[in-house]
């Protein structure tokens, strides 16, 4: 666990870079978090996925896996990997300030 300053606010991140406390996240942190993941320009589709991850987590207590994202976010699996080449669910969860989604499929 480590403390990072994102958008001028100190937040706790775990070893993998996920928020320890999702309540510390604010929408102002998104562009800086995305940059940390190598995404320089956020498109509407990026935002759609990030918002979806966040709202699913808030509603269900866990973020969706890539398969669920592909079926329910309105963005196809192919496009998800184009938006987040380093793993759509994993990277979008980091940017959305939620824990890493767990699930094998």
């Amino acid at each position: 666990m480590s403390t990072s300053t994102i958008a001028n606010i100190d937040v706790e991140l775990n070893n993998e870079g996920f928020f320890v406390d999702p309540d510390q996240w604010t929408v102002d942190m998104v562009s800086e978090l995305a940059l940390r993941e190598g995404i320089e320009e956020l498109t509407d589709a990026h935002w759609q996925v990030i918002r979806f991850m966040r709202s699913e987590y808030l509603a269900k207590g866990t973020g969706p896996t890539v398969r669920v994202l592909g079926k329910t976010s309105g963005v196809s699996i192919k496009e998800l990997y184009q938006l987040f080449p380093k793993g759509p669910a994993k990277v979008a969860a980091k940017i959305a300030g939620i824990p890493k989604p767990r699930g094998c499929i």
């Binding site: 890539v66 669920v68 990997y81 759509p88 994993k90 499929i105």
Partner: protein
């Protein structure tokens, strides 16, 4: 995190339900983690990418002690079909995709799908027999070239 896996090449050599799924799950899981993944289908594993066969993959009910089922009973006509149906139903409930759907999804993640040339020749198959997501039929040497710099997993 110091040790990370950057690339995996997964070989699927079996044509049974329980022989195919683990490799697919590992390939899909690798891509979800941002790990580069290639899938190689060899011997009976080719059924997984065979257009006419990949919708009819069966669970092995004979010679499968893990099933805790008498081998003689497992060999009776229809038993494999019934057990496969039961297993597919259970997986569907857990939202595990069918083999054809899973392979299409894995191709969409950007993983490479390849068929083994020796097996393709052995079974008298050609590129046209395989689903469109299969990128190429390659030799063992070409496999090692593609697998270079990563982990190789044989299933």
């Amino acid at each position: 995190m110091t040790d990370t896996i950057e690339k995996v090449s997964i070989i699927i050599s079996k044509g049974s339900l329980e022989g195919i799924y683990p490799g697919l799950i590992m390939a899909n899981g690798a891509r979800a983690e941002g790990i580069e993944a290639n899938l190689f289908f060899t011997f009976f594993g080719l059924d997984a990418i065979h257009k006419a066969r990949n919708e009819h993959i069966k669970l092995a009910t004979v010679g499968n002690p893990g099933l805790h089922f008498a081998t003689m009973a497992g060999g009776l006509p229809g038993v494999s079909t019934v057990m496969t149906h039961y297993m597919n139903h259970k997986m569907e409930k857990l939202d595990i995709p069918s083999i054809p759907e899973f392979i299409e999804m894995i191709a969409d993640t950007g993983a490479g799908l390849y068929a083994c040339k020796a097996s393709v020749d052995l079974f008298g198959l050609e590129k046209n027999d395989f689903i469109e997501q299969v990128q190429d039929i390659i030799t063992v040497g070409e496999f090692y070239e593609k697998a270079a710099g990563g982990e190789i997993i044989f299933t």
